[in-house]
Every structure is written in structure tokens, then in C-alpha cells.
Symmetry: D2
Subunit: 390 residues, 4 copies
């Protein structure tokens, strides 16, 4: 069953929305909310129908992510990272692996976590020879492991001394030797469980290896980065759209006209309307550019291994363009919503600052100025690298 119609999903969103302020304040693990997403069948959206999933295209998958982000961008993050690990298995995994992991994921609604961050090289793999033949043992830590807590599986990268590229593998989260830290306490995106995970001689069988250490990266694999960046884009876009929705709601329902405005309703104030026009334009523009990027993504995805460097590049450029716009929209609308909603909107019980805090936290993932530099280089030289951040 493809779950994405407004009717079916609306109660889940409304429920998330009604608890978002309290959960943002509490931080920590969002067990109940995650269960609601699982129960709604969302974990199988990106899994091919061959494995019992919904086989949705990325446009549909990310549309759900954005809608969740409009009311709770932390939960949207956890959901999107689940999809990203599913995609990782589809990109790197052999058919047997895909079937072995994704079938139960779809059938039972299992969560995936992430310990892939290649910039964090503290996790080290050691070659070991066990009863089942050669394998690896993992020792060390990984940071920013979104969604790992409460997950069944996680993807990870680990350095093997002497190898140019890291080991990529899948491990079961719930096993001896794996300890998921509860050390994620930021100013925003508080319930993403993006803390650290610690490994003490955790075994990895050859059958669970996605890419052996030293194996050269392939163009097809770099598509994972495009998906990872699209996750960010949709979270930012959802934050901006969610903040605009609150600005609209408060202007219509609660805001009062300024003493000197000369209008009877706040909704007729010329400056409020002007600001709402700016906010709308930012959200709408980011949305359209995002839609265009996702369309390129779906086309790229459908090409599978037959993708060309030009197609990969054009997709990455479109994603980068959307990302800068969505980044800015999320911060600007998160800030300006108060300008139109007015002083009463600063009541902590409403928790409307969470849009800005979530945006501010998440938009630091990679610096916007360097994204602009790349777009400038693209405009000038028609070059755009296919690296981890594009």
C-alpha cells in the first residue's frame, strides 16, 4: 500500500504537530513518535516492491519527508535518514544483500540508523579470521549517528589502516559491543538521536560488507551524496513552509494591528502583507527549485549504473541551487514569522522559535559560502565536483 494521500496521513501529521513543542523541549529519544511513523507504514516507502516495499519514487518519498518536517523537522530527519540507509543498501549492496536486509525491513517496519560519516575517522576496522572465514572487527567511535538509537540495522564506514577508502558495511545495532550514546543535546533538531556510537570489537562478516576497504569509489555510488543533500534540502524546505504556515495562522487568528497602522485587522497591514509576500516567495521558490532537483534525481536513479557524469553533475547542480535557497528560506522565514505574528507569538508554550533553532542547527551541515563558491565555479568554468558534499 502506497501511503501518501493527504487523507490517510493527515492524522499522523496532526499528532506529531500537537506534541512537537513538548518533545522539542524534552529532547532525547522520540520513541512514541517514531512508532507512529513506523505504524503508518512510512519505513517501506523507498523499498522496491520486489522486497515488499512501496517502491515510491524519490519525489514521493521526499514529499512525505517535507510534510513531516513542516510540523517536526527532527522526526523528518530520522525518517529521511532511514530512507537514506535503504538507498545505501540499494546503491552499494549486492542483490542478495538487498533482499536479505530490505525484505524484513519492509515486512516488519525496521528502523535503520547511520554511522557513515566519512569525515569522522575514529572507527577502525581490523582484519580478523573467524570460523566463517575472513572478516573484520570494528573498534572506536562514530559521531552524528542520526537515528541509530532504536534502530535494527545501521550502515557504517570504518578506516582500515593502509587503505585509501574505508570499509562500508551493515551491522545489527542491537548486539554486544555496540553502545549507542545518549549524548545528543543541541539547540535544535533535538530528537534526531544524532549522538555517538561506540564499538568494541564488533564483528563484520564478509557477507555484510558493502564495499571492501581500498575498493575505488564508483560514479554510481556518488549518487548517495545527492540523496543525502536532498534530505537536507527537504528538511530546510519543510521548516520554511512550516514557519510560514504558523505565521499565517497567527496573523489570521491572534495578531493585532499596530497602534499606528490605521487598519482594523492585522491581516490588512501593508507591511505585514509585504513581509508575507517575501516569505511566500522564498518558500515557493525553494519548493519549485527543490521539485526540479528531485525530478533530476529520479531520472538519475532510474538510469542505475548507466548514469553519465554529466547527468550526475547536472543533478548535483540543481540540488545545490535548491539547497542554498532552502537554507536561506528556513532561517529567514523562521525569523520573520515573529515580525508578522507579533509579540504574543513569543510565548514559550507555542514553541515557535523551534523553526529557527532547528534550521540554524541543521544548516551548519556544510557552509553555504562554499556551496556558493561551487555554484560560481559552475557558472564560470562549467565544473562541479562529484564529491561527498555535492
Amino acid at each position: 500500500m502506497v501511503l501518501n494521500t493527504q487523507d490517510q496521513f493527515a492524522p499522523v501529521l496532526e499528532s506529531l504537530r500537537s506534541t512537537a513543542v513538548a518533545r522539542d523541549q524534552a529532547g532525547g529519544h522520540a520513541g512514541e513518535a517514531k512508532e507512529a511513523l513506523r505504524a503508518a507504514g512510512l519505513l517501506r516507502q523507498a523499498i522496491p516492491t520486489d522486497f515488499g516495499g512501496d517502491g515510491q519514487d524519490w519525489a514521493a518519498v521526499f514529499d512525505t519527508v517535507r510534510r513531516v518536517a513542516e510540523v517536526d523537522s527532527a522526526l523528518a530527519h530520522v525518517l529521511a535518514f532511514h530512507h537514506l540507509q535503504v538507498a545505501t543498501v540499494l546503491i552499494y549492496g549486492r542483490p542478495e544483500q538487498q533482499a536479505r536486509w530490505l525484505t524484513p525491513t519492509a515486512r516488519e517496519g525496521l528502523w535503520w540508523g547511520n554511522a557513515m560519516n566519512p569525515l569522522d575517522q575514529r572507527l577502525v576496522a581490523e582484519v580478523v579470521v573467524g570460523a566463517d572465514g575472513e572478516g573484520y572487527a570494528l573498534t572506536g567511535s562514530k559521531g552524528f549517528c542520526s537515528g541509530t538509537r532504536g534502530s535494527t540495522f545501521m550502515t557504517l564506514s570504518a578506516a582500515l589502516p593502509g587503505s585509501a577508502t574505508p570499509l562500508l558495511a551493515v551491522v545489527a545495532t542491537q548486539q554486544a559491543g555496540v553502545r549507542v550514546g545518549e549524548d545528543w543535546n543541541p539547540i535544535g533538531q533535538r530528537q534526531t538521536d544524532s549522538g555517538s556510537v561506540h564499538f568494541a570489537r564488533v564483528p563484520v562478516a564478509t557477507a555484510d560488507v558493502l564495499r571492501r576497504p581500498g575498493e575505488p569509489p564508483q560514479l554510481r555510488q556518488s549518487v548517495r551524496t545527492c540523496l543525502g543533500q536532498l534530505v537536507l534540502v527537504h528538511l530546510y524546505l519543510g521548516l520554511a513552509a512550516g514557519a510560514l504556515a504558523e505565521a499565517r495562522r497567527h496573523t489570521l487568528q491572534h495578531a493585532r494591528p499596530w497602534l499606528y497602522a490605521g487598519v482594523e485587522k492585522a491581516a490588512d497591514d501593508p507591511y505585514r502583507l509585504q513581509r508575507l509576500g517575501e516569505m511566500h516567495l522564498q518558500v515557493q521558490t525553494a519548493a519549485v527549485m527543490t521539485e526540479r532537483a528531485v525530478q533530476r534525481m529520479d531520472a538519475l536513479w532510474r538510469r542505475g549504473a548507466a548514469l553519465t557524469p554529466e547527468q550526475r553533475r547536472d543533478t548535483a547542480v540543481a540540488i545545490a541551487e535548491a539547497k542554498v535557497l532552502a537554507h536561506r528560506a528556513s532561517l529567514a522565514v523562521g525569523q520573520d514569522l515573529f515580525e508578522v505574528a507579533g509579540a504574543r507569538a513569543t510565548d514559550a508554550a507555542l514553541g515557535l522559535d523551534r523553526f529557527w533553532r532547528n534550521a540554524r542547527t541543521h544548516t551548519l551541515h556544510d557552509p553555504v559560502d562554499y556551496k556558493l563558491r561551487r555554484l560560481g565555479s559552475w557558472a564560470l568554468h562549467q565544473e562541479f565536483p562529484a564529491d561527498f558534499y555535492n
Copy 2:
């Protein structure tokens, strides 16, 4: 023959580009350049094939307008206004009128001018009874009559005392009683011949009336406004894209790195790349939003009289969104091109200030703040009027 392939049209564009600086400086009537556009067959682009035209959709027609605007936005304006008058005949005219006017227009390549501006109410119609029955005589003036000089026909509006809505009609430009002023001398868009036209008892036969005075406007007719706004959008977009192209050219060919930049080539300067990234993003975003608006326009146009108010509204909203972006892009890129091209780019022989001057002149057509207010009202109330400026 549909003329729009890059190959066929490129020499015309290059020729316009090579004379643009001199013509901008000279101002006045661009007889030769207009003849080149005519000779290239552009005047029949929007005319249906039934009347011998190319029957292109608006996406194709405006694509050509934008490309002309990249090198010469004044000529692009004259060309686009020709198309707008063709559309006016298609929107308001009876089938017999359409055939009578558009067939020779397509066959002989005749120019149309504009004297429609409803805000200028100095032109007055008087009911007269002549040999051919009842008709009108027109006396007075119209301003901002783009493209009228050198045209064969013009569309016009004229007030009839006592009537709520004006007379709309077509008259031949070259006739006794019509005097086209040579009084257009602005700081930008200098060769659009947007001066005044004076009328001294110019007769209008009933057969040439598009809409009688007092006749109520119809929703279908309001589509002309959408097209008129799209003309502006494409001129702005072309100006922004043209300025970016010059910024790129000069950065690659002439610019020198700043003394303290610590790079060998201007093209590697981190701040220049950042600015180029911003400029690219503005142009690209305006282009995508414009493409979306034109797609809605073409869908609306295909509906003919069956269009709905919602479809009209959604098209107008998309056009307004694109317009604000293109407006800003044209000014910003026209200004920032110098930041990246450097001090040598201020040589008057290069005439690179024409992008900003053209944008600045043309973007005053209707105030951007009021467009934002309308978008704010749309965001808040889901209302968007179908009037002359939307």
C-alpha cells in the same frame, strides 16, 4: 517555417549584440535592427498557422524574446510588444478580424504597435455617422506607445464620455490624423520607441472595433494582462542572463586578480566565485520560475474561453512570483557584473552599464512592493485579483 533553432537565429543575435552599444548610445528608432528581426521571420511566431503564422506556443515565443533581451532588451521589447498586439487580436477579435489583420501580418511581416495603456485617458472617442454607418472619431494623445513608430497597425484604447469601459480598436498607423511622436529619450530601453502618439479626428469603422465602449470585460480578455506581465518577466530575465554572460566573459578574458587576493587568475578569486554563485543562483531561479509561469500560461491559452477563474488566478500568481525574482535579478546582476569584471569594465566603449540602465528603466512599470503585497495577500487570504496589473 518555425524559426527558433539556435543555429539559424545565432547570427541575428550576434549582429544585434555587436551594434547594441552604439544603438543604445544613439537612442531613437532602430529601423535596421527591426528589419533584421522582421527578415528573420520573427513577426509571425505567435500567429496561428491558420493565418500563415508559425503558431508557436508562448514558451517558444518568449524564449526568443528572452534571447533577444540578453543582447538587446530594447529590441526584445519591441518584438514582444508586437506579439502582444497579435495576442490582443486573438483575444478580442472576431474570426473575420483575426483573418483580415493577421494574415497579411504573417505573410508580409508587418509590425504592430501599442496604444492600449488604460491609465492614460487623454484619447477620446466620439460617435460619428459616416458613409459606412456608425463609427468613431478619435482625438487626443496616448503615451508609452511602444513600437508604434514604423508599425503598420496599432491597437488602442480610447475613452467614450459616459462609458464605463473604453473603446478598444485597431487602426492603421500610416494615415492622416495620426502623428507618432519622436519624444522617447530615457536613460534605458532607449530604442523601444515608447513615445506618444497623437490623434486628430482619426476615424474608426465598426469593423475595426475590438470591444465597444461600455461593453463589460470578460475573464478571457484578462489573459492579455498575463501576457503583458510575461513580456516584462522575460525582458528582466534576459537582462539578468545577459549581464551574467558579460560578467563571465570579462572574468575569464580580462579581469585581473586583486593585489591581495593571493591567486594567479581572477577566475580563482574566492569572493568573485562567491558573487558569481549568487548571480548564477538569481538568474537560474528566475529562469525556472519563469518557465513554470509560461507553462501555466500555455495551459491557460489552450483552454481558450473555457478557462476558469482559478486557472487564471494560479497563472497570475506564478507570473507575479517570477516577476519579482526577475526584477531583482536584473538589477542585482546588472550591478554586480562590475564587481566581478573589475574597474576596466567601466570603459564606455563596452557599454556594460546598459544592463542596469535598461533594467532600472523597465522595472518601474509597476511597483515591486505592491506586487509583494499581493503575494502576501495571496499567502494569507488565497486571493489574487484579475486586474490590469495581474
Copy 3:
């Protein structure tokens, strides 16, 4: 003893800074921190030496406020509002009243609270005749009563039915019939105790009346508004400067260069330096414009009742100019500090989002767009009203 040298005051500031994050999180009443300010002698800064105060000029008083705001803008608010009530007594009070209230305030370090807000007209005065002659009884509520909790006195305004202007008076906070609500729980400026105060037939003797209901306002009295606006300006400025100080600290101590920056230290990153340059420029400009406004304020204050409307107006214009700049600087620097400090700066333990939250909450006091409209009116017509918001 005039307490304002860096040496003496530095430990108080450092102490406030070290507890600011925890107190922001806790919200509520800042009893200990307020005691530290009192113990440092700050409550007598604005009180004339005749009454045992330090008799500092406004430049000195606000300089301290700004320095407190750099580390804790909520406490700075409470302190500044104390001074504002002292000023209120100096502006409205008769010499006998000034001596009676300000002498113990200076001697014993008593706090003043505020219940003056003229927009909130729920507090009603009733004429009563008691043993001491005619007086008033107050019933109703006031909102946004900053600093009232824990205060000894408060100033207030109350409507008298039928009177054009309200009663202004001083009442003792700690008395039967006065209930200070603990209902202030916003997203920023959390420890300002700006909740509501409820009055149940609280008596006001004639001797405690600052201005009788119906008495026309005088130009001299409008100076209180200038001081009130300067309080806001200095809080915004302190917030911006404090955020910049944190940006600097983290860039130098903790930030890491971006993967593709090609520099060894974050402090050498060209984009970080550019942003720091922008932030510095915003803070510095707001500071200079604020200093200029305070100088006009001190000149105005020294004129006493001899001030002219032009002098009042020029002071208000300078304050409005500084206010828009400081408003924008507080939001922009509070947001951009993360851009330079990097992702690790979002750790909730650092509480660096408090700068933006405090700025966002406080900058909604009066809408910046209307301030700009007034400055535009000033630029165009040389008019600037002397009302409650100028």
C-alpha cells in the same frame, strides 16, 4: 562612589556570564543575580547626588546596561527598567516626591518595577475619599510589568473613566491588594519578570500621584519615551556585541576549517573573515549611532524644562536611527555567529542560541517597518511625532 570602571565591575559581569545559560534555561525570577547587581551599587547610578545617588549621566548609565546585556540581556533589561522608573520620578515627580522615593532607593538599594504600559488599559482608577482626603483606588491588571517582582516600588498608569489621559502614580509593590503574577514564560528575555500584576482596590494617596488623570501631557514628560527607546537600543546593541564576542571566541578557540577551505585554521578562512567583517561593521555602526543618540539625550536631559520641540525631535530621530540598526544587528549577529563558530557551537550546553532568542523576543516591542516609515517621513517632510513610541 561611581561604580563603572572596568576593573570593579568585571567580576560581576563574569559571574553573570557564567550563570547566564543555566538561568536562561530555568527562566523565572533571577533573585541572586539581581542581588549581585544591587550589591554592586548599580541601582543608584541614575539617581542625582542630591539624593545620595551617583548622578551619572545617561551615557554612563547606558554603558553599564549595554555591558550587562552583552552577557545577559534579561538582567540588563531589569536593571535598565529600574533606571527608567527612577527617571520617571525625576521627570514627573515634584521635588518632595523625588526626595522621598529616591533617597531610600539610593541608600538602601531598592528595586523599582514598571506597570506604566499605556496600551494596556485594564487597570482602572476610582476616586475615593479616605481619612487623608481624596485619593484613588486601583482595580484591574497590567501586563508586561518588567521587574515588578521583587521590587519595592512601581510606577503605574491607570485609566479613570471619562479622563483623556491616565493617572500616573507610584505604589509600594509589597502591599495587600497587589499580586505579582508569575506568568512570564517566553522564548527569550526569560528572566525579566515581565508578567502581569493584579490590583484589588489598591489605594493611591494624592501625595503619590505623579500626574492626575486628565492633566495634559507636557513636552518635558515625553522625554521618558526617549529613555525607554534607548533602553531597547542598548539591549539590542549589547546582544549584538555579545554575540560577536562569542563568535570571535569560538572561531579562535574551537572552530575547525572547512574541508575544502584550503586553510589550516578556521581563523584564516576567507568567508569566515568576510562574515566577521560584516558582523563587526554592524556592531560598530550601531554602537556609534547609539553613542550619538545618547549624547543628544544627555544634552536634552540637561535642558530640563527648557527643552525645545526641535531638540526633542532631533533626539528622537537619532534614537530611531540607532534603534533600527541595533535591532537588525542583534538578529543578524545572533544568527551569523553560528556560521563562523560552526556546527559544534550548537551544543545546548553553550546556550549560544540565547542571543537570537533574546533579540527576537525583544525586537518585537514596536515594529521596525513603522519606525522606517517614520524615518522616511522625517526624510521627506522633516516631521517626527513626539509620541509614546518616539
Copy 4:
């Protein structure tokens, strides 16, 4: 006689203003306008009274420059560069040289031109021995030689092969071997005569040498850069203020309210007032920061050779801050004046685009992004170099 009162100078300004549009269009040499400045006694403003000058401080000198720039920034540039060469003689010259050159300059009203640009190293000095002993012969060219045409003297720099620092000297403009090119034809600042000067074995006697080749620069000499930067700041500020004055004039006299504004006069339009508020704020802020920088400059100047590196640095920082603000104000106000003045203000006869063209041309002198980088470095490291561009 110190000429700087509004009354005496107003007719000169009004005369410059009335011819500015025509002269901007004509370009070339502004002989008559320069004569008017000379006749008004302006050439002696910066010359000490000992030499017969007015001995004005820099605040007064630059105030006049700014006022001229409000109506004609090209003439203001020529005037300011004259003062800069006078300062060059005061900074580098021996007392005998100062008396010899500045006395006739003050008495007869002689113009000075500039051929100092150290980045242009095409002019080469050769050691020659003549009848009067050792000297130099100059051969080659210099670019951007503002004000040289029509001047009596010029300062110049010339490279001596093998010397680390160039020869600095004064030569008479009107002599065999010197040819002043008429090759200055830019899009703005058109009448500054900033073309090239060509030298063919032009002799320089030892008595006319300001600094011998190879002589190390001294801190005191670096003050010339501060003055050069202040010239730019005042031109930008004058351009911004002049554009605002035109915006005001047109809004009050000619502008018409927008169709949907719902106001009777353009001057009451809420968005126009908002924009005017922004423009006013930009001009006012740049003006105050400039005034502060000039005050530091005058204090530095009064110190003479006793200046400290810290004082030099603090002056340069203040100038850089003012420069970024004035740079931006000149472009923004030059652009936005049309937004408030309306479409009719684009009439070429009004020439209102000259503000933007002049600003755009002149603000490319050194890149604003690198100035921001330096301010960022100042904010972070408290370092600010004393080089040619600070």
C-alpha cells in the same frame, strides 16, 4: 578667507548642479566648471596659512568635497585629488619645497594633478647628470592620472630599476616631454580627466624629489593613503546624499501615487516612506561614520611625525568602516531613488542615472569584499595593515 559658509558657496553648487547633466553627457574636460571652483577659492582650502592658504582642517576640506559630490561627483573628485596632492607635498616635502610649491598654488589658484598610482609601474626613472648636478629623466606612462589635464603641477611615482621603492617627485605639467592623454571615457565619473599621461625623457631635478628611490617608507607617509581613502568615502557619501535629495525632490514635486496605493499623494505611500526611511538611514549612518573617521584623521594629522602605529591603525579602521557603508549607500540609494521617484524620473533629460553610474564606476577602486575581510581580520585578530589600500 575661509570659504565654506553655505551662503557664499551655494551659488557655485547650484551652478554646478545646473550643468551637471549636460557635462556628464559630454564627458571630457570640465574647464569652465574647474575655473568656477578655482575662482571660489577652493584650491587653497587645505594649504596652511603660512603659505597663504586657508589652513582648514580635513573635516572642513572634505565637507566641501562632499557637498560638491552631491551635485557633481566628477568635479568633487578633481577637487579632492588636488587637495590630496597638496597633502602629498605636506607629507613628503621639505619645508623649502612646501613653501616653493604651495605659496604660488594658494596665491594664484593653481591646480595639481596626480600620477602617483604605485600599481602602474610603466613609468621608469633613469639617473642623469646635468648642468645642475645629478637628477632623473622619466620615460613611460601612467594611468588613472586624475586631474592632470589643465594642472600646473603633478605628483608622480616612477620606478628606478634595482630600487625597492619608487621615486616620488613633483613635475610641472606644462613642459616639453609631457603629454596628457585625452583617453578617459568611462560610464561614470566622466569629467575627472583620469586618463593616461605620457613622459618622454622628462627631467626631474634633485630639488623636486619628494622621496628618492630606495628610501624606505615611513609611518607618517602612510597617512597619505588614509587621505586617499577618505576622498573615496566622501565622494560615495556625496553621491548617496545627492541621490536622496533628488528622490525627495521628485517624490514631493512630480511623483504620482500608484493606482492601488489608496493614498492621494505619492508622499503618503507607505512603501515609498519605508524605502525613503531605508535610504535616509543608509545616508545618515554613512555620514556619521564618515564624520567619526575624519575626526580621527584630523587628530592623526595634528600629531605630525609623532603619530603612533596604533593611532594610524585606528584611523584606518574607522575609514574602512565608513568606506564600506558609503560604498553601499551610494549604489543602493542611486538605484532606489527611482523606486520612489517613479517611472517619469527615467527621462534622460534629468540624468538621474548619473548617481548610480558615478558610484558604480568609482566603487571599483578597491574590492569591497577584501575590505570586509580586513575588517573581519581586525575583529578577530586586532590586526590592520598600514599599506597602500588602508
